[in-house]
Amino acid sequence: MITLEVNGKPHAVDADPATPLLYVLTDHLQLHGAKYGCGLGQCGACTVLVDGEPVFSCITPISVLQNRRITTLEGLGTSDNPGPVQRAFIAEQAAQCGFCIPGMIVRAQALLSRNPAPTPEEIRAHMSPNLCRCGTHMRIVRAVERAARELKAAK
């Protein structure tokens, strides 16, 4: 048994310690925000936060995650009560198929936590590990800019 703290709650998980976090999230904890895209850390669809930093959950074994704070998309808000970054993505209609967007939102959250007013260039550089195939990039950048503005206004 390995205990993982996910979205503020401890979870005792019965899985091989070598299991990548992604499989524990989707298969054991029924959290579907993080997506399997490549299993290689090349596309960012599986991005989660570990102690506030973006991490590819598809290549991070649970053995290294004890006593770390794991935050998934679900930890940022719900369908009825979306968080500020999610609200900005909805306002910009920043999705087509939407499969990459959870990873985008989580990675954007990490940026905005340490840089509340990023430039478009900083957003592009920060988001570059994450792939989008539908070509929603323009809207994603706009959504991150909007989230930054709205977070600032709320302060």
């Binding site: 990548p20 524990v24 979306p82 989008c132 070509g135 809207r139």
Partner: protein, 716 residues
């Protein structure tokens, strides 16, 4: 005979007579004419709308709800939409070819208008008033004296179980309440908060997980397999082997992944001699002349050859399906673009009657055409049959998706033209392409079916006939020339697996035609926009061209060092949306790096149902085409695909993205819906090539325009 008797007899003779006597029904009503195949209203007033089309991320659910809400005069939120399911919805074939609005949208628009008219007629009888003295709003019909009846009260059992009968008077296009508004997409909030809405997220009670072991190359076959060690691995329930088909099922997902890796290591494969490399012009082909007008063999003013490689769909989420085989019935949850054709293919593969197979669409990662979705459906069917009673989820690994999905065909085109008095007098265009359609229907189009003990052979390559065309889609220019000759060399046997990739041959043909138009404009010393207008008389084509040029600031453009502008236009399939794109690029001469700085587009999709949805599709089309055109080519050696991940098949990343893309939607209320989703692919590629030529003087005729290729073209 009254309508009820007609329905009750239902004889083939009567039906065929009736079909001959009536004009063709609009959109997919022609395939599924019963009104209640499309719209049902419960006694509680609940409205359910059915479509055989599937949400692929293109926003079709929202647009179809808008169409139904408009004609039924209800709030969009009151409509429940059921999408592609062989047990519930009409058979509308594939969700492909930018046809969902013209087929399903048109069917629902007409069906909804007719349903409303029927309800008004009933209310008129009930109130003993003429229909024109009644008003319809919010799902109820009201008389001037305050009497009202809700749809739920009016509708009775058989009312909608009748064949549609056009023409139904439709709502006034100038008084739209819902159509034409950028309604927020209904599917987005769930997607952005992790609700389990993708088939990849589906978790059924008692569900187990499978992974497949695909051969190392398409022709390799299983020679030997040691299973004992894998069978003892934790959680392993079953090794599925049928000929060279191999999969493993385990309780937990990562157990299945681990067992799959062990199984792959325990398998030995016979490698067949193969040669995947080929000269397209030497492959076996069938020739068809699409256009031939009389002209003497001219002396050409210009000629050029263009090339594209095999390119992949590259869905971000690999394909996935869940199968359940119970009591001789198979259910497959799938993100296939065609649930009915997949059902037929699975029934054939398993030797089951069609009625025992049900395919239910759930969303997957964006597909952009025929990716591995159907293959995964077959994997789920085979694994589920091996483990009756338990739902089995199969998720392909990244390398399976990359190496086994059907690619967009490599193509070659050759254009020649003669100018006379500043105009193109003679135009001669030839193209070489493999098939762009190898979808199920037939089980032989499912990769897993090739590997079985009793394998299914691939059916002969299929052409899609004009006017839509496959490899020859958009091969006939919309421009008017004194003489035109267009020839299609259909390659009947491609060395790599090929099928439908967003816009099929239109991407390459529009890239070629629109690049060549610029080469000719240059030869004629004409402005590229004005040169196009010289050869066009379709007023809608002219308007999108003028609008895109204006938005871009074409007339007042001041070229900066290292930069250039490019323009391109096409009407998708020569019968769907009109799209024109202008863009500006910057080329770094020393590195060969190209960056698109900005793009302005104009699109005419007929009546625009959801303008922001159209903008989203065009923006996405431009960026995806930018990725294809700058970066993408499937790599392979003599026997196997070597593009197996995102490192060996790089695509667009954020730093390559333009600073600005703006899209103007030209709406034409009351005009037919014109397919939009694929309209930008070709124009974006050509506008890019034209802008590079403007920036550097170098003409790139082979896709992709990778940095080394650009450097080479610049002679740097």
């Amino acid at each position: 005979m009254n309508r009820r008797q007609f329905l009750a007899t239902g004889g083939a003779l009567v039906v065929s007579f009736s079909l001959r006597a009536q004009p063709k029904l609009p959109g997919s009503l022609a395939r599924e004419p019963l009104l209640d195949s499309w719209i049902r209203i419960g006694a509680d007033g609940g409205i359910t709308v059915f479509t055989g089309k599937a949400e692929l991320g293109q926003g079709i659910k929202t647009a179809l709800i808008q169409v139904a809400a408009e004609e039924l005069a209800v709030e969009p939120a009151r409509i429940e939409l059921v999408t592609a399911d062989t047990a519930r919805t009409p058979d509308e074939g594939y969700t492909a070819g930018s046809q969902s609005m013209s087929e399903s949208g048109t069917a629902i628009l007409n069906a909804a208008a007719e349903v409303r008219a029927k309800l008004v007629e009933l209310a008129a009888k009930r109130f003993a008033l003429p229909p024109e003295r009644l008003s319809v709003a919010n799902g109820a019909i009201r008389a001037g004296d305050g009497r009202s009846a809700s749809y739920g009260e009016l509708v009775t059992g058989e009312l909608l179980h009748v064949k549609a009968q056009p023409p139904a008077a439709r709502g006034n296009p100038r008084e739209r309440a819902v159509i034409g508004k950028s309604l927020a997409r209904v599917d987005i909030p769930a997607k952005l908060t992790g609700a389990p809405i993708y088939v990849q997220d589906l978790r059924l009670p008692g569900m187990v997980h499978a992974r497949t072991v695909r051969p190392p190359s398409h022709a390799a076959r299983l020679a030997a397999l040691r299973t004992a060690a894998v069978e003892k691995m934790p959680g392993v329930l079953k090794i599925v082997r049928d000929g060279s088909y191999l999969a493993v099922v385990a309780e937990r997902e990562y157990q299945a992944v681990s067992a799959m890796r062990a199984l792959a290591a325990a398998a030995r494969w016979n490698k067949q001699q193969e040669n995947l490399h080929s000269d397209l012009q030497r492959l076996p082909s069938q020739l068809s002349v699409l256009v031939e007008s009389e002209a003497a063999a001219p002396a050409w003013s210009a000629e050029a050859t263009y090339r594209r490689p095999y390119q992949m769909h590259g869905s971000i989420g690999p394909s996935c399906a869940v199968g359940l085989y119970r009591d001789g019935n198979l259910t497959v949850w799938t993100h296939s673009q065609g649930v009915y054709p997949l059902r037929n293919a699975l029934a054939e593969m398993l030797g089951l009657p069609k009625k025992r197979v049900r395919c239910i669409h759930m969303e997957g990662s964006g597909c952009y055409g025929h990716n591995a979705a159907d293959d995964a459906g077959a994997d789920a069917a085979l694994a589920a049959r091996a483990l009756p009673g338990r739902p089995v989820r199969v998720h392909l690994m990244r390398e399976d998706e990359h190496a086994w999905e059907p690619y967009g065909s490599a193509m070659l085109t050759r254009a020649r033209a003669r100018l006379e008095g500043g105009k193109i007098a003679d135009w001669h265009y030839e193209l070489w392409s493999g098939s762009h359609s190898s979808r199920p229907g037939p089980a032989g189009n499912l990769a897993p079916a090739w590997l079985l003990e009793k394998p299914f052979a691939r059916p002969p390559a299929q052409q899609i006939p004009q006017p839509t065309g496959g490899g020859d889609r958009n091969a006939i220019p919309l421009y008017r020339f004194a003489s035109t000759r267009v020839v299609h060399h259909f390659l009947t046997a491609m060395p790599l697996r090929v099928s439908a990739l967003r816009s099929l041959g239109a991407y390459m043909n529009v890239f070629s035609i629109e690049s060549f138009m610029d080469e000719l404009a240059q030869a004629a010393r004409a402005d590229p926009v004005e040169f196009r207008l010289r050869h066009l008389d379709d007023p809608r084509a002219r308007e999108v061209i003028r609008t895109a040029a204006e938005r871009f600031g074409w007339a007042g453009y001041r070229k900066q060092r290292g930069r250039g502008r490019g323009f391109a236009f096409a009407r998708y399939k020569n019968l769907a949306a009109y799209c024109a794109i202008a863009c500006e690029v910057e080329v770094e001469r020393t590195s060969g790096q190209v960056r698109m700085l900005r793009a302005s587009a104009a699109i005419d999709s007929g009546e625009a149902v959801n303008p922001d949805g159209i903008r989203n599709q065009v923006e996405g089309g431009i960026l995806q085409s930018l990725s294809w055109t700058l970066h993408e080519a499937v790599s392979f050696d003599a026997s196997r695909i070597t593009s197996r991940d995102w490192a060996s098949y790089p695509i667009l990343r954020f730093p390559d993205v333009p600073e600005r893309i703006d899209v103007e939607v030209i709406s034409r209320p009351g005009a037919p819906f014109l397919g939009t989703g694929e309209a930008a692919q070709g124009p974006a590629a050509a506008a890019l090539a034209n802008a590079i030529a403007d920036a550097t003087g170098a003409r790139l005729r082979e896709i992709p325009f990778t940095a080394p290729r650009v450097r080479q073209a610049l002679g740097a």
